[in-house]
Symmetry: C2
Subunit: 326 residues, 2 copies
DNA sequence: GTGAAAGCGCTAACAC
DNA sequence: GTGTTAGCGCTTTCAC
């Protein structure tokens, strides 16, 4: 028994295939009673429109591609969920691709899925602007978590949230602070570093910059010794994962957080909320990041030119900061 | 400038469209020299085969669907990565769907993507067997993390790893142990509970069973009071996330792990490795789980009937267990 | 080894 | 409102 098509349904109901087609693609165009009959027999036959055929005819696949550098990094799952939820509303599916932190893979993978998606959402791309621009030529694309001239983007500005936390740290007596930088090629890393640096300059606080790091847990853990050596009483890690690493590394060195040193993360991923004590960090607006991205992508697909959207993170003071010691 | 097709290339090179087609789908069928020429001009034009057209002609989309109950649960990202990596090798893309913990959504979502995928991988399905069987009718499907009669599956048996940890706990003097059960509808929850229960029976250890829980962080945290009350000196949480919750909950109650109580998780997700102290748990073979699933799916698509695969978890003793106190 | 032609299942003008 | 008729771009017999 083969799959039902608009033809099989049409012949059973006694209408033309176009009417069946319309019943599914523009229901309002077919008279209610007829539509009902068609829908009924379609259900009986377990009919579902063949997406490939529809895609071939319309030039639209109904799927959007999402490229992330590392699904296992807890920053991305919430973003994926948000994008997916938003896509669902527009009746689109999500093709997910993981570039495994490789810029060259980004290029290759985009090339590969380009022909089968209506649009692309690229999260935290590592590819240099020029190549990025080059590779997405022809596919509507929006970048997330990276401001870039040639592409509409949705980014998160954590500056004021970081300042707020920094001020708090300052009040707690911290006068020498370490900053663990994120990946060289990551826009967020540069942006966050600048925020902390500017704040420190303004306040006249000594800032010890470490890194750049790939921003894995191990990087944070291994940086613990340098931190201790630096004499910084508080540290801004690039993200929550690194912060967790720092805490582990300090613990191995016999220190306890926040008793001996204060740690701040960024993004407020699951990890930050579930560790004990919970992590002081900046909450990223995942849901809005995702929905804005999808929304912008739709605009783009519709031929409009959305402007880059800038959202903000929110400071959340939790258990990993305390008074400066030493 | 429109996208290149086999026709545009054919007319430029001066061959028939079929030859161009073969160059891409069965390269060995066309003479080397000709093939090179075709490939060259294809490259010039930036040609890539239209997947929709190919799909329509062959009945294969080249995409496999993966359904997870919750992308944000750290158990799934490593699985997603593994599946994706394996799929890549077979030149297939991954359509990801998140059912957000709802069994009914599973049904609806599968229905929805069924027509556009060549096969389906369903991770930790919550749907009752019968409905699950019903809904995947017609699509090659493999279940992951759930043994089920009607579907080929790849599961992980943690029994011996859990016993190993339990024995260790016993040696440390623990004689009253709590077990936090996972979601009612989750196969893994039942399976793990049985393992611990049987062990406790054999050893004559008192087992306090709590739950079932949805297995979120908050569930573990909120269970802390009951645990303290139960007098159990050690606890097996359904998974790492719940274990993290328990630790947080105990901490709020003034207890410290492993000083006051020992905690064991399951799966060894990122969380388990990055918390301080790191969590004693059972490492799930994510990579094998994913690659087996894809492998079985290919078999299924090819018309063969793969047998259910059972892998094993590995005990990993870390920082959250210690001698029984009280 | 290569070409011609039919067809995959749907949509979209365009008629009626 | 509904039917007719071309395609959409590819694969695949079947000839040659």
């Amino acid at each position: 028994m083969k799959r039902a098509t608009i033809y099989s349904i049409a012949s059973i109901v006694g209408v033309s295939p176009s009417t069946v087609s319309r019943t599914f693609s523009r229901p309002e165009m077919v008279k209610v009673e007829l539509r009902e009959r068609i829908l009924a027999t379609a259900r009986e036959l377990g009919y579902a429109p063949n997406r490939a055929a529809r895609g071939l005819a319309t030039g639209r696949s109904g799927v959007i591609g999402m490229l992330v550098p590392d699904v296992e990094n807890p920053f991305f799952p919430p973003l994926i969920r948000a994008v997916q939820a938003a896509a669902r509303v527009e009746d689109a599916e999500l093709l997910l691709i993981d570039s495994e932190l490789s810029a060259s893979a980004e290029q290759e993978l985009v090339d590969r899925i380009r022909p089968q998606v209506d649009g692309l959402i690229i999260a935290s791309p590592r590819l240099p602007s020029k190549q990025l621009h080059e590779v997405v030529r022809g596919v509507p694309t929006v970048a997330v978590n990276r401001a870039i001239r040639s592409l509409p983007a949705v980014v998160c500005d954590n500056t004021s949230a970081l300042e707020e936390i920094a001020d708090h740290l300052h009040q707690l007596g911290h006068r020498r602070i370490a900053l663990l930088r994120g990946p060289q090629a990551a826009w967020a890393a540069t942006h966050r570093a600048r925020a902390v640096r500017n704040w420190a300059d303004d306040k006249g606080v000594e800032l010890v910059e470490l890194g750049p790091f790939e921003a894995q847990f191990a990087d944070g853990r291994d940086a613990a010794a340098q931190i201790v050596e630096s004499g910084a009483s508080a540290v801004f890690a690039f993200d929550d994962l690194m912060a967790a690493g720092v805490i582990a590394g300090l613990s191995a060195l016999g220190e306890s957080v926040p008793r001996d040193r204060s740690i701040v993360g960024c993004d407020d991923v699951l990890l930050a909320q579930t560790m004990t004590p919970s992590l002081t960090t900046v909450t990223a607006p995942f849901a809005e990041l995702g929905s804005s991205a999808v929304e912008m992508l739709s605009e783009l697909i519709a031929g409009r030119s959305p402007r880059t959207v800038t959202l903000s993170g929110t400071a959340v003071l939790r258990g990993t900061i305390g008074p400066a010691v030493g």
